[in-house]
Every structure is written in structure tokens, then in C-alpha cells.
């Protein structure tokens, strides 16, 4: 059985990036694609080749490289993070009083978009809300018939804008600063109050109530006489249903760029070459005596600056270097097909690293469910 050389394996792994096109984009590691080669799934081989390198791990900003998986799998993790990991968000609003200038439906929508956080343990234990069964007359009549302390959280927003003492006189004198004239003229996300009920009163950590992640998000501005009084119900949902349920601000990956300098780029050209890339990607190094001896292109160029790749990771693959005639046939750009540089930024309800683990878990759960369905199927 022929085994491909390391060089050949690398060639297959690189997606070529030319000035106008992208080549060799599809993976070919399937049985039957390369004559005589075995590409069957092998868990031990996968285990050996899989590599994960962390670059940053903050609660709201995770960056790591996932090396040695196929695009379809990396993409599945990304898609699950965006659309299938559940979070809690405001879903129904009961408006008792709203005389602000934002109408009920728009205000409700704004409230729904506010990212929430709270006791992680309690949130984890919260179950799915099921919409009332339309065939069951007892439950179908109202949405709240399915509200229980294990699947719904309650929040309230109550505020009334009034004149400050002496505010009217100040206004008559021409004062326009609302801070000096009115009480409660701006309503922020921090004004949302958690109203635990039932078992939540015991189970929910009182030091970590349900609240807005960013307290200073502006919800509405008001003027004297205006009032809002709203009761909100939050439940768990997924990003596939509405983007407000998506636990991530960003979950994306890019492929590791490669830059191959085929022929030496020297002197002023080297400087120009380095300028085609973001800072830190290309370094300038003087040509050594040994190099000048060995390479005919470098004869007599000892001491001159030569462009070398310092850190391709930082490249944005702008392809700028391909636009200049002096670099023609001297450089080759590419990307490593199985090196995914993930970037996950959580909105705050989860930690970013937890989100990735959860996405892997959910893919597994998906498979389990399908397997169960398959077993129950008539063959």
C-alpha cells in the first residue's frame, strides 16, 4: 500500500489562494479517492492527529486552534454554538401601564433583546417551556397556563418620571438638562428586577439574581407624567428560533494562513513586501555569508535585507502581495485546510469555553437521538 510522502500530504492539506481564485478547496481524505491508500475512519489515528492549542481564554473571549478535524465537523460545532445552545431571554411582556413614547410592541421587543445572566446552576436546571397544547382546552386558553417555577423566570420593570423639586421653575428659567429637572427620566437595563417565585425563592442564589449583563443599556427615556409598569416572563430558547437566544456574540473560525516565499525577496523589495502584510507577519533579516554562497539568487547580496515569514498566524490573507509584479512567482499564499482558529465571544450567560464543550456535547446528543430514531424505525 503506497503511503504518500510528507510533502504530498502537506500539498493536499493546503488550500491555494491565488489573486483571483481559491484552489484545492475540497478535502480528499476519503477511501477510494487516492488509489491504494486507506483513508477509512480510524479513531486512534484521529486521537493522535487531533491537537487543540489555546490562544486566549477569557469568559467573554475564547480563542483556540482546533487542528486535525474536517471542515464539516468544525462547522457543526460553530453552527451549534450560534443556533442550538439554549439561553434565557425575555419572551412575553405584560404591559400594565406604558405611557412612554415607545409603543408596547417596540418596547417589548427591546426588552427581549437584553442579554441576561444569573445563578448559573439555577439557569442550568431550568427546563424548556412548552407552548400550551392547542387541543387541550384547559391549557390552550392562555399562554401562562404553562408557566411554572421550573421553566419560567419573572422580571418586573416599574418606573414613573416626575418633576424634581423646583424643576418646573428651573425649566421656566431656560434650564434644559434633564438630570436637573426630572426624576427617573432614563430607564436602564439595571432597572429590571427579578421576581423569583415558587421553588426559585429557595433554589436561586440570592447573591446572583437574574439581571441584565450590561446594567447601563438604555431601554427608554421618559418625561414627567410618563410611566411604565411591565411584567416579563423569560424562558429558555435557542438561536435557531430567535437571535436573542443565541449565547454568542461571535462564534467563528478562520483557517491558518500559510505564506511560502519561493524565491528570495531582497532589499527595497523586501521592505515593500513586508508592508503588504499586517505588522509582525514578515520579518527582515540580513542575508548571511553562507546563504549568499549557497543560493545563486543571493550571490553578492550578503548583508542586504531578506524577507522571511515570522508569524503567518497574524496574516489576514489580504492578497495584497499578489498585486505587485515584482513578487510574481516569488510567493505562494495558502491556508491549512484542517487548522481552524476558533474565536468565541459569549454574551455572558455562559463562559466561552463552556460553550464550545456544550456544542460538542450537543452534537453527540443529536447523534444519540438519531440513533434511537433509527432503532425504532421499521427496517
Amino acid at each position: 500500500m503506497p503511503t504518500p510522502t510528507q510533502e504530498e500530504l502537506r500539498r493536499r492539506k493546503i488550500v491555494n489562494i491565488t489573486q483571483e481564485t481559491v484552489e484545492n478547496a475540497a478535502s480528499t481524505d476519503y477511501p477510494g479517492h487516492w488509489p491504494g491508500e486507506n483513508h477509512a475512519w480510524d479513531l486512534d489515528l484521529f486521537k493522535e492527529n487531533l491537537e487543540i492549542q489555546f490562544h486566549a481564554n477569557e469568559p467573554n473571549d475564547l480563542s483556540f486552534s482546533l487542528i486535525g478535524v474536517d471542515t464539516s465537523v468544525a462547522n457543526a460545532f460553530r453552527r451549534i454554538m450560534i443556533a442550538e445552545i439554549p439561553t434565557l431571554a425575555i419572551e412575553t411582556v405584560f404591559s400594565t401601564q406604558n405611557t412612554s413614547i415607545i409603543v408596547d410592541e417596540v418596547l417589548s421587543h427591546r426588552l427581549g433583546l437584553i442579554p441576561l445572566r444569573g445563578d448559573r446552576n439555577a439557569l442550568m436546571n431550568l427546563k424548556w417551556y412548552r407552548r400550551p397544547d392547542p387541543d387541550d382546552p384547559a391549557s390552550a386558553e392562555s399562554p401562562e397556563s404553562q408557566y411554572f417555577d421550573y421553566n419560567v423566570c419573572r422580571m418586573a420593570l416599574k418606573a414613573k418620571c416626575t418633576w424634581k423639586e423646583g424643576g418646573k421653575q428651573l425649566a421656566a428659567k431656560g434650564e434644559t438638562d434633564p438630570e436637573k429637572l426630572y426624576n427617573n427620566h432614563t430607564i436602564y437595563a439595571k432597572d429590571l428586577k427579578f421576581l423569583p417565585y415558587g421553588a426559585q425563592e429557595q433554589n436561586w442564589d440570592p447573591n446572583d439574581p437574574l439581571r441584565a449583563i450590561h446594567p447601563d443599556m438604555l431601554i427608554v427615556k421618559m418625561r414627567p407624567g410618563q410611566e411604565i409598569d411591565m411584567l416579563m416572563y423569560c424562558w429558555k430558547g435557542v438561536g435557531a428560533d430567535h437571535a436573542k437566544f443565541s449565547p454568542v456574540a461571535t462564534a467563528s473560525y478562520r483557517l491558518l494562513p500559510t505564506i511560502d516565499i519561493l524565491k528570495p525577496i531582497i532589499g527595497a523589495d523586501a521592505k515593500k513586501f513586508a508592508k503588504c502584510f499586517p505588522r509582525g507577519v514578515i520579518d527582515l533579516k540580513p542575508v548571511t555569508a553562507a546563504e549568499a554562497m549557497e543560493n545563486p539568487d543571493l550571490h553578492g547580496k550578503e548583508g542586504e535585507n531578506k524577507a522571511v515569514v515570522k508569524n503567518a498566524f497574524r496574516d489576514t490573507v489580504s492578497r495584497e502581495c499578489l498585486r505587485h509584479a515584482e513578487f510574481k512567482d516569488k510567493v505562494k499564499l495558502g491556508r491549512v485546510r484542517d487548522h481552524f482558529i476558533f474565536r468565541v465571544e459569549s454574551t455572558g450567560q455562559w463562559d466561552s469555553d463552556q460553550l464550545f464543550l456544550e456544542s460538542v456535547k450537543l452534537l453527540k446528543v443529536k447523534c444519540e437521538k438519531m440513533k434511537r430514531g433509527l432503532n425504532g424505525m421499521m427496517r
Binding site: 477511501p31 486507506n38 477509512a40 475512519w41 479513531l43 484521529f46 486521537k47 487531533l50 491537537e51 487543540i52 492549542q53 489555546f54 481564554n57 483556540f64 482546533l66 478535524v69 474536517d70 464539516s72 465537523v73 462547522n75 453552527r79 451549534i80 443556533a83 442550538e84 405584560f94 400594565t96 401601564q97 405611557t99 442550568m124 427546563k127 424548556w128 401562562e144 397556563s145 408557566y147 411554572f148 421550573y150 418586573a156 416599574k158 417565585y197 410611566e227 409598569d229 411584567l231 430558547g237 435557531a240 469555553d353 464543550l357 460538542v360 456535547k361 452534537l363 453527540k364 446528543v365 443529536k366 447523534c367 437521538k369 438519531m370 434511537r372 430514531g373 433509527l374 424505525m377 427496517r379
Partner: protein, 138 residues
């Protein structure tokens, strides 16, 4: 009269206490439709069949297609989403002689699950190593 209304709590029905149900079911948002979400489309033989998955999309479709194509007994595997407004995913498998498509599909799902375990383990280890390295630096 507006402004005079008091916030009225909505009466909530008491529920029977939870027993025997795991608190976090972790079953995904469409867990209620646990009933047949996979079916075989008409015209199937033992070595060639199209499966239809309800409520699945490219997430499972493409990953599963990759895993099944990795199986040397498989002649062809492909997936499609026939219509964007229908929540369905079709998966076509054709195998070489005397290999059951059902076994191939099951193996694909098993391989995918095993792969998930490996990724989870490696990720956890890499995270611990990274945290240890960061602490040493600090």
C-alpha cells in the same frame, strides 16, 4: 383609570413536584417530537436508501455525510436540504454489495459520537494546560 391600576399578579397553577425527571433534559429544543424523526424514503433497497431526518440541517447533515464517506464500504453518500422552508434533511447512502445501509448509518453515528468524546477530552486537557501555563507566567 390609567396610572391607578395596580400590578396584578397572574395566578399560576400549582404543578406536581418533579420526581424522576432529570432537571436539565439536555434534549435540544425539539425534544417533544421524539417520535419518528428519521424515515426511509420510497424506493430503498438493502444497499441503497435515502433517509429523511426531521428538524435537522447542515449541522448534522454535513458532519454525518463526512463520517459515512469515511467508511470504505460506502460507494456514495450525500445529503441535501430539499427546500429551505421545510425543516427536513435528506441523506442518501449507497453501499457496495452485501453491506446494509442501515449498519453504515449506525456506524456513522457511532463514529461521530466517539469523535465528540475525543474532542471534548482533548479540549478539557488543553484548557487545563493553558490555565496552568498562564498561572505560572503570572
Amino acid at each position: 383609570m390609567p396610572g391607578q391600576q395596580q400590578l396584578q399578579d397572574i395566578d399560576m397553577r400549582d404543578d406536581t413536584p418533579l420526581t424522576g425527571i432529570s432537571a436539565y433534559d439536555n434534549e435540544g429544543y425539539n425534544a417533544t417530537d421524539e417520535k419518528e424523526r428519521v424515515r426511509v424514503l420510497a424506493g430503498a433497497t438493502e444497499t441503497a436508501a435515502s433517509f429523511q431526518f426531521d428538524g435537522e440541517d447542515h449541522t448534522l447533515g454535513n458532519a454525518l455525510r463526512y463520517m459515512i464517506m469515511k467508511n470504505p464500504d460506502v460507494e456514495f453518500c450525500g445529503y441535501s436540504i430539499p427546500h429551505p422552508s421545510e425543516d427536513k434533511m435528506n441523506l442518501r447512502i449507497q453501499t457496495y454489495d452485501n453491506v446494509s445501509v442501515y449498519d453504515v448509518l449506525e456506524k456513522g453515528l457511532n463514529d461521530l459520537m466517539e469523535m465528540c468524546d475525543v474532542v471534548m477530552d482533548k479540549f478539557t486537557i488543553a484548557r487545563e494546560d493553558f490555565q496552568a501555563a498562564m498561572q505560572q507566567e503570572a
